[in-house]
Symmetry: D3
Subunit: 157 residues, 6 copies
């Protein structure tokens, strides 16, 4: 049960609309979080070939204000895959379409998604094939994070 | 420049709708994050009497699946107030309206909101009045978190 | 078949958004009516532990204009319960979050909701337990309104 | 300042969507109220040639359940025009598009709309030209309702 | 299997909202296309008494800019009916409600809709009854377009 | 006034939601048209560095049904640029995320967008730099289409 490289990355983008902003035109943080989650959701479904739910989200820090009319692009990558959970790294870039400047990184975070079968029980996901040194390093980091969450969870019981 | 107790808490609730869920009826994590952010936004505006933006969100962990038709209630409280930033604790409770069970806690997180003046520059917020020992303890915790983020930010420059 | 006090009241609130307003920033009356209906719907479901539909709405009078950015809070209370119908009183309060003024009452109305079973037929609802003199008075008023609607309905046949 | 007949009637229709319904497929009463209000709003703007707000809505009674996929048509007519207020009669008809049955009347109500100038102050509206006996009768009824609301309002002060 | 005249025409209208426009207040072409498609969808369902999908849309040309607050009216008519496909002509008129000018034609196009049975297979639709010379001429034009699309499709295989 | 290659292509994608579909789960053609238009709008703004509006859309033919839950990707490319108008080719690909099949082409069309200055008047756009033979061929085709529309427009006056 393996999965080829094409199922481990997904890019989504949208132009920010007035109903996603406050009166001063700043896009609400919650709208960006929702968009990141939908990219993680789509990629995890594609990787696991099943329904998935969000189990955890990393600390998020907004480095840049985002405004109405800007193009926001979410790039999602599978960083780590356990038995039924996947860690998806989501990076957000922002681009003012009417200016000649390149897209700028606004924030990034890891989303932990869990694959579910038709009855809502956790379901095995494919093993992650690691092709580059960078992927291997990301996987090892993800593995450590995963282990530390599990530990925290057991302690809080 | 002080602020009375009524401006430090706010409760919002809504019934979850089908367009907020995946095909299996699980509400998307991103919808819950968006709702928590809107509660933090409303309370921070009320506390600061100005426009505000989201600067940071804590690690989030979803303890319970949330389904279409359930009532979700966000309780937001100001935990800490610095010069222009406020830390808002947001707790999410979920209730199956058609069952005789009490609401259950689904998750909680701290949102750091920054007050902005009309020109988009950081703006002073009122001092937080602490009435109970619990409030004082929360404030001290928030102060420590705030200091550690600031430190992290300086290091990453 | 009785129902304890916690099932007879429900509070919902939301910040009004630009897409709910006309060009001058006044929130459409229809948006407020929809919000009141959703509070009545949620509370009646919680009281009846079943699906419910709206059968009647009282005359509505808007005492205050409501603007984009304001916090609107609907407080719903079960005033009267018949065999399968419930009368829900819904009060709307409005608060300008960036001003130091308390919430103001904008309007109130009674919504008659009918409980339905899985096949869409009327379903018995719990008896309403009346604890205070005020609740007893509200119940008696509701009972009279209910009787007069029934009478009107028979006449119009 | 008169207004010809074409400005006194307006028809709007839409197919009901799943996100406007409860889990059993019944369209929420609040969605229908919102739609009626938007028809009254559009017609009153057309009649007054200015911004308008909703001031009052009649008692509403839902005679028929309305389901997802049905075509709902609101017919709005100016029944009465005072100095700055207009009474708009709104009738709702429902049609199951996939059946061979004619549209059925689901409910009707009067909406009182007030014309506002650019500064938000009440603004004179055109005199209503009455061409038929039916229009004259409706106008006289509307005039009586208008007088009785005004009286009620003064008493409640 | 015939169909009377009332099933061959349908009018829908809505007031354009800010979230359907760009920052300058121009309604997006895509919003108008979506609205035209929903009118064609509703009429084709009404004519075929079954589910339908969009198969083709004509070249579209926007003759007039459309702005927030204007009333847009789509008039849909069945022009041609084949075995399982229908050609629906959709005309869009725009009216500035606060001005004394009549509605203006903004654009028109033909939508080819296909009737589907419960299993998603093409389904026979009623024969179109032609009452006037104009209807007969439209039908003949539609028949020619239909034949030329079929030819084009076969060639591209 | 030239424009480099990075401003001539843009990719947008989204997962199709239940509220975009009919009762059988088929995504409405109008939703796809709206999405294609928003990709053309974003790219034309990026290319022209100004506000833009949709002036024309090609004949559209839906080759594949699109269902709820599928990932739809719009790839927009500038094919031709005139004085103030741009022709944007938009290709739509569809992917069933839970299956192991590659994305499939669902349809494609040309959108003609016009750049507008702050006062709503047509505005010059950058010259299109053509790097490959394929780009040159597309440009020549676009130029011919553009000329034939202009001719048609003059005749219809």
């Amino acid at each position: 049960m393996e999965n080829n490289i094409k199922n481990t990355k997904l890019v989504m983008s949208q132009v920010m609309m007035p109903h996603q902003a406050n009166v001063a035109g700043n896009i609400h943080g919650g709208e960006i979080m929702k968009f990141m989650d939908s990219a993680a959701y789509a990629l995890a479904r594609k990787y696991a070939k099943s329904n998935v739910v969000t189990a955890r989200v990393d600390e998020l820090e907004f480095h840049l204000p985002i405004f109405v009319g800007e193009l926001v692009t979410c790039t999602a990558k599978i960083a780590f895959a356990g038995r039924s959970s996947m860690e998806v790294g989501v990076t957000v870039e922002v681009e003012d379409l009417e200016q000649n400047s390149p897209p700028q990184k606004a924030l990034s975070a890891y989303f932990t998604m869990v694959a579910l079968d038709k009855k809502g029980r956790p379901k095995l996901v494919p093993k992650l094939i690691l092709n580059t040194e960078e992927e291997k390093a990301l996987f090892e980091e993800g593995k450590k994070r995963h282990a530390s969450y599990k530990l925290k969870k057991q302690k809080s019981k």
